[in-house]
Amino acid sequence: MPWDESLVNSLVYDEPDPKQGRVLSYVQSLNEALRIALEDNESVIVMGQGVDDPSAMFGSTKGLQDRFGESRVFDTPLSEEGMMGVCTGAAMRGLRPVYMHNRPDFILLAFNQLITHAAKCHFMDNGLTQVPLVVWAAIGRGWGSGAQHSQAIQGLLMGVPGLKILMPSTPYDAKGLMLQAIQDNSPTIIFEHRWLMKKNGFVPEGKYLVPIGQGVCRREGEDLTIVGASHAIELAYQASKLLAADGVDVEIIDLRSIQPIDDQLIEDSIRKTGRLLVVDTGWAIGGVCAEIGFRAVEKWFSYLKGAVRRVGLPDVPTPAGYALEQHYYPTAQNIVDVVKDMCRK
């Protein structure tokens, strides 16, 4: 899919200067995180369809089987529900599985094991067992991914007690959150975005952790707060530049973790700006946008100067064709328009 790749490349902006630090691509950063985790702790195993093949899960698992052997890094049958249960059982017995999927769509096959088992084991048995596992998947988009290969299901999962859900947006966070997730004793899901995979960024050598449940302010601004995560932050960032040119100064909060949520960071920002726009890569209805927006009107109503808005996917499945896709996914310009509309009032 050459076109897809070139599109992914075109979204890599703000190229970091290698003189200022070590630059890695998002995928290299993930690969390094997995290598460090495997070295660090013998309990860590990595599995998934094709993790040992030449494509190596977008490159993120490249070389790992050669280095750590087939018992630690291995391919699996096409049995998502079964393997989710296998990971859960292995985790309850002391391993730390990292279970990788090409697409979140495939996790839907494993919802029973993920939601009704992995997320609840520790609670149900009064803390006697723990389920330290990581489920990883990359949200698809473009090149005909279509309705069955592009679903961003974070919104479906964020209400499920017992799960942690991470959505990094930079190579730095991709590594630090992966290492933290593997170390965490609860089941943790990492949703990447296919379009971030080629992004470059500064990534320190060795092991470092990014705490779960802690967001980060990517851009300070006075007029309006944009909250989101993952690829949505890229859009927000592009929009912020266009808006700045028009004299609108937005603040961008990158949640990084959508469960648990960094309320303090959002609160501080809304207190300052009084305006909130939530952006997400998933369906706008009933998901991340709705939850973050609800928090604002529930907890910080008195700071709000106007309506809270959201930019996510319309209430429509993803069309496969390119022409329709252009109307489906929100753009930086869409964000600009909404922000201007919000600030006008």
Binding site: G82, M84, T116, D125
Partner: protein
């Protein structure tokens, strides 16, 4: 019409096998089955008091599978189960006090009252986990076996599930994975011909469950689940092969539950199965048929039984009393263990 008649041979031709075992071992099997039976009957009796606010899935009639299979395991071996947990938990040596406290929703229940009767767990004796979702424990047990293989800890993992469990796709997935990786696991299917009130014929094609399992490349066999020695020997042989590095095994045991799917009492009169059918199987009751067998073979069981029974009844009374006077959990407990530290 009796849809699912008992077709086994009972203990016919089993006298020869007696020489292999010590009297105490043979009597212990009886003791364990009797104990489960009496515990279940007492749970059933007391269920009407509404003090056990939990669903129950009695194993009355299915004692030989739990006891026979668990007798082939050591304490550190792991056991997983579906919703019908009582036999597995007790067979594996689970603490009766903790079990009854759990069923009375008390703080000192084996899962602090958070799991309920379908989630009996006792890590001290290898009763590892259970799921109330049909088939749910099967891949989890498979994962535990993967961990054992990975750690080379020599444990055998066993998982109990019903005939219904084999209808869930995840069972097929787990069998394939276990066979692929040659995992140290025994898939133990208690085929009692029904799922709730649905007979096998409305749910499964004309297939032998163990043959279906075999198609996954797994060593598979079928046993008379009313015969505790046959269950024991089949499991023992599987355990030995597995400890010698052999791959997974699948055992189908034909059994019958004498009570309703859930709750107290039988429900055959509602019409989904014939009362005759139950009565036929009751004539091959695993506890009493083994008792007669031991008796016929002069194991002196007749003289021992009253004492054993008394002892068990006393234990049961004590444990119920313990459960009843145990403390309830507090509101603050609710918010514990959502995430692990």
């Amino acid at each position: 019409m009796v849809q699912y008649p008992y077709e086994g041979q009972g203990f016919k031709d089993w006298s020869g096998a007696l020489e292999k075992y010590s009297d105490s071992f043979l009597i212990d099997l009886f003791y364990k089955m009797l104990r489960i039976r009496l515990i279940e009957e007492e749970i059933e009796n007391r269920y009407f008091d509404d003090l056990m606010k939990t669903p129950i899935h009695l194993v009355i009639g299915q004692e030989a599978t739990a006891v026979g299979a668990c007798a082939a395991l050591s304490t550190s071996d792991l056991l997983y189960s579906g919703h019908r947990t009582h036999g597995a938990y007790l067979g594996k040596g689970g603490d009766l006090k903790k079990m009854l406290s759990e069923m009375h929703c008390k703080a000192n229940g084996c899962a602090g009252s958070r799991g309920g009767s379908m989630h009996l767990i006792d890590p001290d004796v290898g009763m590892a986990w259970s799921s109330a979702i049909v088939g749910g424990a099967i891949p989890i047990a498979t994962g535990a076996a993967l961990a054992s293989q990975y750690k080379s800890d020599q444990n055998v993992t066993m998982v109990f599930f019903g005939d219904g469990g084999t209808e869930e796709g995840v069972c097929s997935e787990s069998l394939n994975f276990a066979s692929l990786k040659q995992l140290p696991i025994i898939f133990f299917c208690e085929n009692n011909f029904y799922s709730v009130q649905s007979p096998l014929r409305t749910r499964q094609s004309q297939r032998d469950i163990f043959r279906w399992a075999e198609g996954h490349g797994i060593n598979s066999s079928v046993v008379d689940g009313t015969n505790v020695l046959e269950v024991y020997e089949a499991t023992k042989s599987a355990v030995e092969k597995i400890r010698d590095g052999g791959g997974p095994h699948f055992i189908e045991a034909k059994v019958y539950r004498f009570r309703a799917h859930g709750g107290a009492g039988d429900d055959s009169q509602t019409g989904y199965r014939e009362v005759e059918e139950r009565e036929m199987w009751e004539r091959h009751c695993p506890v009493e048929s083994y008792y007669s067998f031991l008796d016929q073979n002069n194991l002196g069981i007749k003289s021992q039984r009253p004492e054993l029974q008394k002892q068990i009844e006393q234990e049961i009374r004590d444990c119920f009393e313990h459960a009843l006077k145990s403390p309830e959990p507090k509101k603050a407990d609710l918010f514990k263990y959502v995430y692990a530290d």
